[in-house]
Symmetry: C2
Subunit: 384 residues, 2 copies
């Protein structure tokens, strides 16, 4: 089979995970979710598909263009194939679990699908995994989510972790205080998104001073925070800055080995966040391993919204940097080896591959079956 | 929220798994797949969605009416949302892994979706998990799959396991040998499907004698096999019977505590099987926990077909009878407890629920958060 044949088996952006990649992915997800469970984040499992209007409500609107839709012959309504799980967890929290005590800590892991990949990221099915802490709006809650997810990644053996903290509400707070017009705000946003200091300076007035200073206040957390503290910010913006400082202090206390950076003007992808937001990075990983932040859970119409903070890990990015566990040694045992013996060998740490028919040369058969050992005269012998 | 509100959140047949059900399901699937891995069945993970024509090829045709379809804007072709994983694993085995040594042992676990539920079984999303042994046609291979899956269920703590073995190729072999017409075969099939001895007798000729005897030869494996052995079957049918006997002997040797029954005329749901087929039952479970059997893997057109035997477990049915693990005790720790201390307590076996703000009464707060212990004066104290 040529590569072209293999590729043509599946639509662009979809793939088969083969051995050992599929087992590695499952074990990493299991270890992440177990870590979360150890700190009280309990797993929920929403369905792959549900009413489109629920998937696309509130913060889900961002996924509208990326959601596969099918007509449901039973309800005669449109269903969406989830392109994100966070919105489903928020739905569960604010409906089925609305009477559960707060803070409500939930975790999830599952597959999502997207209609289109990009040239750079052609994948259309992703494995996602994350946590949500719902019902409390405090720096302690923000910090708990950052600490829980970063410590989960560290527990996988990932090194060189860093967290980039952002404050997408800071610039709007400054613009509000300065009574900028809609046009001025849009100009400021574009200039900041492009990290274009000249364009920020060209805004003129106090906006260019404050926003220019915010733009400069990016980098390692301590330097950035010192720069932010030196600024004479309007009251709401100052409160946001102080909150960021509190989150940083708490994260640093728990995770002294995790790198912390601040970019107070970063906004892309954080449009729905209502407070501190963050991205997770690791040494050697080209992109972020996950992202999260504060938002409002629940649909605007109907149930009351609740403050929430959560994070989603992009499992394939985590797999790129997580150390692979050592493979269990594979032991070939001859046909007819009783189950009890195979179980005993398995419990001793072997992957036990049984022969189906008698063979002349157990070592040769073991080699053919990618085993490193064969049972010969009642004992495992290396294939050599 | 009323029950009606809750139900209306999701389309019929789809549901949210809440704590602790979602974690229980994940742990059962993980234990099953780990058991399979211990005996050399390596995990693969095909995508949720792929070209309709591949999903519905060969044995997949049975799922055509149950498959959600969407148009892929990227390939301009129809995609199907898988209603079965077996067909995908067979595709992987006969294409991407066609050069891997045989027998090829693969496992899988994942979600499937179906367009319609029935009145009795309204579910439309299922968790499936199973194994396939590909490339060998032998009683040893059949027996290995039965033994591997039954021992996996036993390892979950499920008791009163039994396996009902079927031989859907036996009746056709008899009909061939007797040169029955298509009409006579259809009559015989209907009579046998309805276990209608009178209708079988009414077929007349040697067909009513042999098929009537087969119909009677159902029940506990030893009795059924004795009855089958006493029959003067045509050669091909006799070979099928002997093969069933060999499979039974091997399964009984490895699993003396698992009940074994035989129904040699059962055919429903086994239309695609080319040899021994089987269903798994447990005491107290109303329906089967899984089913499997021998088939031909691979599409008829294109790649060469290969002999294969596999089994699929219906995870929700397994959950109904698997003992729930004891819940970890939940410990409330006051706000500000350092991560290192929380990790130590987690490693000691607690689920550690951290306070976010200082509280006056740690025991009362623990109770409010469904914890059974609270950290008081540096030690866990029962909430009482």
């Amino acid at each position: 089979m040529t590569d072209t044949d293999t590729k043509a088996l599946l639509p662009a952006g979809l793939r088969d995970l083969l051995p050992p990649a599929a087992a590695f992915e499952a074990s990493v997800v299991d270890r992440l979710v177990s870590h979360f469970a150890g700190f009280g984040f309990e797993r929920v499992k929403p369905p792959l598909i549900e009413f489109e209007e629920n998937l696309l409500a509130g913060t889900g609107a961002a996924t509208a263009m990326q959601t596969f839709r099918v007509m449901d012959p039973m309800s005669q309504r449109m269903l969406g194939l989830r392109a994100d799980i966070t919105i489903q967890v928020a739905r569960i929290a604010t409906t089925r679990l609305k009477n559960a005590p707060r803070p409500l800590r939930l975790s999830y892991a599952g597959q999502i699908l997207r209609v289109r990949g990009s040239q750079l990221h052609p994948e259309r099915q992703f494995s996602q995994c994350g946590i949500e802490l719902i019902g409390v709006d405090s720096p302690a809650a923000d910090a708990e989510v950052v600490v829980t997810v970063a410590s989960a990644l560290a527990a996988l053996g990932i090194t060189g972790l860093s967290v980039d903290l952002n404050l997408p509400t800071l610039v709007p707070a400054v613009c509000d205080a300065l009574h900028l017009t809609a046009e001025q705000r849009a100009e400021a946003r574009t200039a900041l998104d492009q990290k274009d200091a000249a364009a920020v300076a060209a805004l003129g007035g106090p906006a260019s001073d404050i926003l220019g200073a915010l733009l400069k206040a990016c980098g390692s957390a301590d330097t950035a925070l010192d720069a932010l503290r030196a600024l004479d910010l309007p009251p709401v913006a100052a409160a946001e800055r102080d909150r960021l400082a509190q989150v940083l202090d708490r994260v640093r206390a728990d995770l002294p080995d995790v790198g912390l950076t601040v970019d107070a003007v970063e906004n892309r992808g954080f449009e729905y966040h209502t407070g501190v937001a963050f991205s997770l990075f690791a040494k050697g990983a080209p992109g972020e391993l996950g992202r999260g932040g504060r938002y409002l859970a629940g649909q605007e119409a109907g149930s009351t919204q609740e403050p929430a903070v959560g994070v989603t890990l992009f499992v394939d990015k985590v797999l790129d940097v997580a150390p692979q566990p050592e493979a269990r040694p594979r032991l070939f045992v001859p046909a007819g080896t009783p189950l009890a013996d195979r179980i005993r060998l398995r419990d001793e740490g072997w992957t036990v591959v049984a022969g189906l028919e008698p063979v002349e040369d157990a070592l040769a058969e073991a080699r053919r079956l990618d085993c490193d050992h064969a049972m010969v005269e009642g004992a495992p012998r290396a294939v050599g």
